[in-house]
Structures are given as C-alpha cells and as structure tokens.
Amino acid sequence: MTRKTPSLHYFFSRKIMAYVLTFYLALTLIWLLPHLMPGDPVREKALKIIAAGSKGGAAPGVGLTEVQVKRLYEYWVGKFGLDQPLMAQYLIFMKNCFTLDLGVSIRFYPSRVNDLLIQSIPWSLGLLVPAIIIGWILGNYLGAFAAYKRGIFDKVLYTLFLFMSQMPYYWFALILVYSLSFHAKIFPPGGAYTLTLTPSLSLTFLLDFLSHYFLPFLSVMIPYIGGEAIGMRSLILYEINSDYANYFESLGFRDRKLLSYTFRNAALPQVTGLPIYFASAFGGQLVTEIVFGYPGIGGMLYAAVIGQDYPLIQGGFLMIVIVTLLGNFLMDLFYAYVDPRIRVAYRGEK
C-alpha cells in the first residue's frame, strides 16, 4: 500500500501539470485570436453611435463634428482599455481570467460578460445535455444492436447511421422546420415559448415550452445518434471476435449476456468522446439557435464575434475551454474508477 500511493499521487500531479499548461496556452490563444481579427471594435461602436440610422433608419445621429467624433472614439477606447500596450492588455486579461471577472462587454455595453454568459448558458445546456445523454444512450444501444444482429438489419441500420451522422445538421434542422411545422403544423417553427405566454410553473406553459423545445432537441440529438452508433457498432464487432467473447460463446452464454459484457468493454472509448463532443457542440449550437430562433450561447457568441467584442468572445471561449479540460480531467479520474486495468496501471501495479 505504501508503495502504491506516491505513485498515484505522482501520476495525478503530472496530469494536473499538463492540464495547467494546456489551460495557460488556451488562455493565450483565446486572448490572441480575437486581436488578430481585422478591424477595430471601438471604431465599430463609435460608428454605430454616430451613424445610428444612416443605413435605412430614420433617426439620424448626424452632424457631429470631427472633433466631437474623435473625443467620443477616444473615450470608448480608454473605457475598454484598448489604449494600453498589448502586453498590459494581456496581463489584465490573465488576471481577469483567474479572478473570474471578465469585464464589460463591448457589443452589449454596459452588461457584464459574466451576466451575459450566466443568462445564456442555461438555455444552451438545457438543449444540449438531454440531447447528448439521450443521443448517447440511443446511439450506443442501436449501434450495439446492429453489430450484434448483423445481416440485412445491420446493413440498413449502418447506412442510416452513416446518413444521420454525415448530414449537415443545419440542413436537418431546416428539414424539420419545413416538414413538421410549416407543412404538418405539429410543432411551432421557432422561439422558446409562445410570445404571449409568461413563463411560469403552469401546465400550459410547460406544454408550450416542450412543444417549442422538441424540434431543436431533435436537430441536435439525431445527428449525434448516428455518430455514436457507428462508433459503437465497430467496437462491438471488434469485441465480439475477441477471445473472451469466443470463450463465453463456447461456454454457451446467452446472447444477451454476451452482448452486455461486450457493451461494457466497448463503452469506454465512447465515454471518452463525450466531453470533447460536448465542447464542440456547445460552440456549434449557433446554427440550431439561428434556425429555430432559440435563445442561447451560440447566438450570443455570434453577435460577439461580429461585433468584435473581445471580452465576450474571450468569456465564451474560456467557458468552452474550461468545460473541455474539466471534462477530460474528470474522465481521467473516472477511467480509473470504471476500468480495473487502468486503475492498476495508474497505481503502477503490474
């Protein structure tokens, strides 16, 4: 026992070091990339202020002299700290990241980035988490089932999975809207709830909310099912031909039992993919949100990128990085728990 503990400790400290380094590099990139975009966010803001309405609108903000415009511009540059040397901006950003105070948004001034994120995250998670969990379960089951049944069944399902995983999800979202809401009129085509309803714990609202929820949910879940099922199918095919499976088979185990053993062994790599997929889906929510007019982080990040809102872009990506790293780390821990082989390896046992 005394020999084992330091080894486990050593293993985790090394892991944590790697995570810290990755996190630091990610932070630097998060800071750097928005600054490499062409254009100047504050100039954008100044223009929006002075020209409210010169394209289409009717309330012109014209007639400001060059001196007035310059003063206005300088005020906002100073306000967002963009007049400081880049190095200083970088250090301030790092400090902000560690104090978890991401500052004030440029595009949505004077809202704080933290508030904007907290406000939009629940919507995105509410859509993503159930979709991914149910998609994971269904996908893996269907994949295992296809691999196990083989024959024509497998061939049909496999083609279907391939199609599901490879179809562009925005296209699929549009198809859903077109068929189920425009034509069949079963589901509302967009929004999070009926505009004349006030959110409450009532049954009316709940049903209304769910009917708005269903299509975006499907559009996230179905493509995910395809991907998971393909992975699971190949893994099961591999496991089914392994020695232990052959041995069990020859011992006369029932098929169901055999499948449940192989499933457990095959599930491990599928679990690994979860946090990574989650993080990418998190950022990729945008299209779903635009197609369905559904609130969430995607639309917020999109507006941030268009408006070159450095603090908000950074905040959004910081969150994605944290989710990914934390997810991976927890998976590392979880592995040790779930797979005796890895646990043994962690402890340095032979």
Partner: protein, 653 residues
C-alpha cells in the same frame, strides 16, 4: 414515519406553488397585443437596459415608454406637436420658443420644461453618448427655462444651424430629470446607467423583461390621453430576431405584426397578409428616405485619372441602367433617380430641383453616348484587350467594393461591373467582410462603392449633402466621407442651407431654391457621386390582428418601431377582432354573478398576496441560483454522464 410526513409536506408545498403559479400565470391575449421585431442579429437580449443614452440600447426596446417634443411628419414634411404644445415659434431670428404641455411621468411626477432642458443638456457633459443633441449645441448659446411650460433656444449667431435644432426636437428623447440626476451621482458616465425599471412619459409602461422578449402594458393614466386618446393595443411585445429569414417567417405566420426591414420576396408574402405602403413595386413609402448612389472615391480618381476623372464619371453615369439596378439590385424596393438633384419630380420638395441641371445633366441609359464621351476625350482601347486606356496609356480599371452578405449592395455592384465593362471600363467587384470593407473605406482603398444616405428628416436635405462635406464624418468614416470630396464652396452653401429648418416657409422657399440650385450645379459638374435610386421607409405590417396601418390608401405619418413617430402609428391602428357581443344576462342572474365575481376577486387578492410572498422567496432563491447555475449545470452534465456509464458498465451481477 418522519420521512413520510416530510415527503407529504413536500408534495403539498409543491402542489401549492404549482397552483398559485398556475392561477397567476398571465396569458396575454394575442388580439390585444401588438408584437413587433427588428433584425438585430441576436436571439436573446443582453439585459434589462432601457437608458436611451446607453450606446447599445436599441430604441425598439423602449418603444412607447419615452417620448419626444415633436414627431416628424414625414408625409407633409412638418412637425406634429407631442409633448410640445403647438409648433415652435420664432420670437426673433435667433430665439426659438417651445411650449410644453401638461405632461406627467409614469411615477406621477409632473413633466416640466426643466426635464426638457435637462435632457438636451445632459449629452454635453457626456460626449461619449454621441447623442443627437450634441450636434445642436454648436448652434446654441443656451436653452432657457422661461417657466414650467416654456423653453427658449438662444441661437448662436455665428453658426445658426437651425435644422439640427429641429432634428433634436423630433428625435431626442425627453427623460426624467429626477431620476437621471441621481444616476449621474451614482455612475461615472451616464452610459453605465441601465435604467432597469424605466420611468418615461409615454403611453406604455414596462410590464416584464425576459431575455427573449420585452412586454409593455398600456398606461391608461397617460397624460396624453386628453389630447390624443388611447391606442388600442393593450400590450406591446418586442422580440429579438437573429436574421431576416427569421423575421420573414415570424411575420408570415402572424407571430409578429410589424417589422422594420423588408427583404426580397415581399410580394409573395402578401397572400399571408403581409404588406407595406404600396401593393406593387416599389412597395416601400414614396418618400426619399435613403438616396442610393455609386460613390466615387474622388481623391483616388483625381490621382489616377487627373483631368479625365470627370469624363469617366460622366460616362459611367450614362452606362448604367437604373431601371434594371432598382429592379434586380434593389429587389424592386427603390425608384430610379437619374439626375444629380436626387429629388424625384413628384416629391413634395420638387420645387428645390434646379430645372437647368435636370435638363442638362439627366442621365439616361445610353452606352453609346457613354462610349462617345470616352472616345471624344481620347480614352480608347489602344492595345485591344477590351479595356480603354487614357492617352498616356493608363488602363481605366476600377475596384468597386461592398460588404459580403449585404445582398442588395452586392447585386448592385455586380450590375455596375457588367455595365462598366460594356463601355470598356474594367471593373473588379470585391465583396469584402464588413471589417475589411470598413477599413478600406477609412483608408480610401477603393475607386467606387455602393452607398446609401438618409435624406428624409427635419434636417434631411442638409443631412444628405453631408456626403459632399468633408468637415463632418459620415459613416463608416470617422474622418471625412466616403466620397472623399472637398469643395469649400459647396460646404459653405451647405452651411447656409442649415439655417432654414422649414423648406415650406414662404420666406425660406426662394432662398432654399436658389441655394439648392447652386449646390446641384456643383454636383452636376463635378459629379462626386453617381445617382442611382431612392428608397422609402422599410416597414412591414401583418393585417391579421391589426388594421389601419399607413398605406397608399390610408396615408398618414408613419415611422419604424424604434422611432418616436411609432406612437403616432399606434394611435391609428385598430384591432381586427370583432367587438364582444352584448352578454344579455337576466337581471336576477346578474346579481348572483356579481356576488360570485366579488368573492372570486377577494380570493384572487389573497392568492395574489400569497403568490407575492412565494415570488419573493423565488427571487431570493433565483439570485442564489444564478451564481451557481453555471458551475452547477456543468457539473451536472458530467455527473449524469458518470451515472449513465455506471448503469451500463457496472451492472450488479
């Protein structure tokens, strides 16, 4: 046993919360609600912020809450008194007097001349607001509060730009001094003040803010009731929209009743009850709200083509077919304008057209004439590559730029390219990312570009001439204008024009006609921009729930939802729902019904107070929750993942 009691209690509590909430759950009647949207590129609102001086607050968020002194009458080109009583009066050449009506703020405080002057002076202390009142101050010495109902503008005699004052009268919101003064003490800059629970003077009060909509409820105690009556919509609901497709979908399905941008495919939507001013092209209003031009980068033209610059510009003027551009480039939403007065012959301002300029400088689509002009100047294709050269051998090629995704401008630029190539001028049409486009405009790295300028407001004509006046920055420049044109004579004429706020004033009419005549002559000879078309208000209505919208057959001053003038539109629209049939209840029953109604009302009050308490609890929990929500949910995800795997991987044998 204990567990049982606890769980029973929990169930009862939950049921109670559920029922109370159920009773108080408010469903707004669709037929009483006017739902509107504006394409802002967002699916959720950033926060409950209603301060008009905060730069990222969209005016559509507080529609109905704040008001202005006047509303711009864009049909008759005049001022409609709103908070002001009667038209502005010129006491002498340099003193303008405005009377304020008996108005009141939504919190019961009277609205006086003090509030008006405060609202106009505030931006002076905070130039970062960029508020339009700032543009007026160079033309003023002071604004004087004569009494609670009278204010006087004292004009700066050295720079009497009266148009900008009229602009402010129509578009600068009047805000409550008693609230903003406090905010000034709290915040470093007034732009930081969110004004979460806005108090305005308008006929609608904020009812609810949610991240996906803003609900305002009619204030039946509105001060303006005795002057204007009340508008019919009981609720105003604003919803954000991520894009044009989404707004089109919403209005087709009558999810929204009004929007302020219209897109291609407009005509097809008429069968869904969606319409605008006209039923046929150009659909949008007939007033020249925006003048569309091909702007020439005059500095670069001079530099590259020298004395031949004007020849090339004139040739381009003849080379383009404006009918086709308006139809295919501007999707039938614009009307061609082919002379450098930029004023249509049927416009109320047609008297400002310089007939001489119209006669001599009107462009028609005539590529042969264009080529003749070039030939005469000696600009010919000498090397046989299809592109003409100046006599010194410089090839006449142009770079024309627009923004990727702005489909109308892109289409116009492509058409421009093909027309120019027809007469032997090489054109490269570049569709750029907005940021790149903007930096190229700022840096002057283009030869021509599509451009639009607003021209229909109290200061509209002066405003439009801004593109020729290098002293005032015009979007997207923060120095100079996209035309990069300097002409001191024109700038001085523009200053003169700024002194006449009312073009229909009999004294001003001849002077303005003469001034505009001179300006138009300069524009015609120098041709800093090439006229293309004019565009009216973009304003779409849905007729399912509300009628009486401003149209060709029912014309009245109209405005977009974020404009002060939208209040005027609200007064004119009528519900399409049939009035409720008379109940016809027998008298003896009525008493019983009344008694039941009273009991229910009392019950309702009790439940209401209960629910208030529950809500109080809820908000405390909510505040706590919002802090932890982010992390908590993240953890939850992983936890659930863990559980799922556990279930499948470690099934008990």
């Amino acid at each position: 046993m204990k567990g049982k009691i606890a769980s029973t209690l929990l169930v009862i509590l939950l049921a109670a919360v559920f029922t109370v909430q159920n009773i108080t759950a408010q469903e707004l009647k669709r037929e009483e609600s006017l739902v509107y949207t504006e394409e802002e590129g967002i699916t959720m609102l950033p926060g409950a912020i209603f301060n008009p001086f905060s730069p990222d607050v969209s005016a559509v968020w507080y529609t109905g809450i704040f008001e202005t002194l006047y509303i711009f009458d864009n049909v008759g080109f005049g001022l409609i008194p709103w908070i002001a009583e009667g038209p502005p009066v010129w006491v002498d050449d340099y003193t303008l007097e405005v009377e304020v009506r008996d108005a009141e703020w939504q919190d019961g405080v009277p609205l006086t001349a003090e509030d008006v002057v405060y609202s106009y002076e505030l931006p002076k202390r905070y130039p970062e607001t960029g508020a339009i009142a700032l543009a007026m101050w160079p033309s003023l010495t002071e604004i004087e509060v004569v009494d609670a109902h009278t204010i006087r503008f004292h004009i700066n005699e050295t720079m009497p730009f009266k148009v900008s004052i009229y602009q402010v009268l129509c578009f600068s919101w009047i805000l409550p001094k008693h609230i903003f003064q406090e905010a000034e003490e709290t915040y470093e800059s007034i732009t930081e003040f969110p004004f979460e629970s806005p108090i305005g003077s308008g006929p609608y009060k904020l009812l609810r803010w949610e991240s996906t909509r803003i609900v305002k409820e009619r204030w039946d105690g509105w001060w303006g009731r005795k002057y204007f009556g009340l508008s019919e919509p009981k609720y105003l609901i604003y919803v954000p929209s991520p894009g044009n497709e989404e707004t089109n979908r919403m209005i087709s399905l009558a999810e929204v009743d009004a929007l302020s941008a219209i897109a291609p495919g407009w005509k097809d939507m008429q069968k869904d009850g969606v319409f605008s001013w006209f039923k046929e092209p150009p659909f949008v209003s007939p007033y020249p709200v925006r003048v569309n031009v091909i702007t020439v980068n005059n500095e670069r033209f001079e530099e590259r083509f020298g004395e031949y610059a004007i020849v090339i510009k004139r040739a381009l003027g003849y080379a383009i077919d404006r009918d086709v551009i308006c139809e295919r480039g501007f999707f039938q939403l614009a009307v061609p304008v082919s002379d450098p007065t930029f004023i249509l012959p049927d416009s109320p301002l047609a008297f400002l057209r310089n007939e001489e300029v119209v006669r001599d400088y009107t462009f028609r689509y005539d590529p042969d004439a264009a080529m003749e002009i070039l030939e005469e100047a000696g600009i010919a294709d000498t090397d046989g590559d299809g592109i003409r050269e100046l006599p010194d051998g410089t090839a006449v090629t142009l770079e024309t730029i627009d923004v990727e995704g702005w489909t109308d401008w892109m289409a116009v630029n492509e058409l421009f390219k093909s027309y120019a190539e027809e007469i032997g001028i090489g054109v490269e049409a570049l569709h750029l990312d907005y940021a790149v486009w903007e930096s190229r405009v700022m840096g002057g790295e283009y030869d021509t570009m599509t451009y639009g300028l607003s021209a229909w407001s109290p200061a509209g004509l002066w405003d439009f001439l801004g593109i020729f006046d290098y002293r005032y920055p015009v979007w997207p420049n923060i120095e100079g204008t996209p035309a990069r044109y300097r002409n001191d004579e024109l700038s001085q004429l523009r200053d003169e024009i700024a002194k006449y706020p009312n073009p229909f004033d009999p004294d001003a009419k001849p002077v303005l006609t003469q001034l505009f005549g001179e300006v138009q002559k300069i524009i015609a000879t120098d041709l800093p921009v090439i006229p293309v078309g004019v565009w009216g208000y973009e304003f779409g209505f849905q007729a399912k729930y509300w009628s009486g919208w401003p149209t060709e057959s029912n014309p009245y001053p109209f405005a977009e939802q974020g404009d002060p003038g939208f209040l005027y539109v609200l007064l004119h629209i009528k519900s399409t729902a049939a009035p409720p049939a008379p109940p016809g209840i027998p008298e003896e029953l009525e008493e019983t019904i009344n008694a039941i109604y009273d009991t229910v009302s009392t019950l309702n009050v009790t439940v209401g107070s209960l629910s208030g308490q529950v809500e109080g609890l809820g908000s405390t929990v909510g505040a706590l929750q919002s802090w932890f929500a982010g992390l908590l949910v993240l953890d939850l995800v992983l936890l659930i993942a863990v559980i799922v795997v556990l279930v499948f991987v470690r099934k008990p044998r």
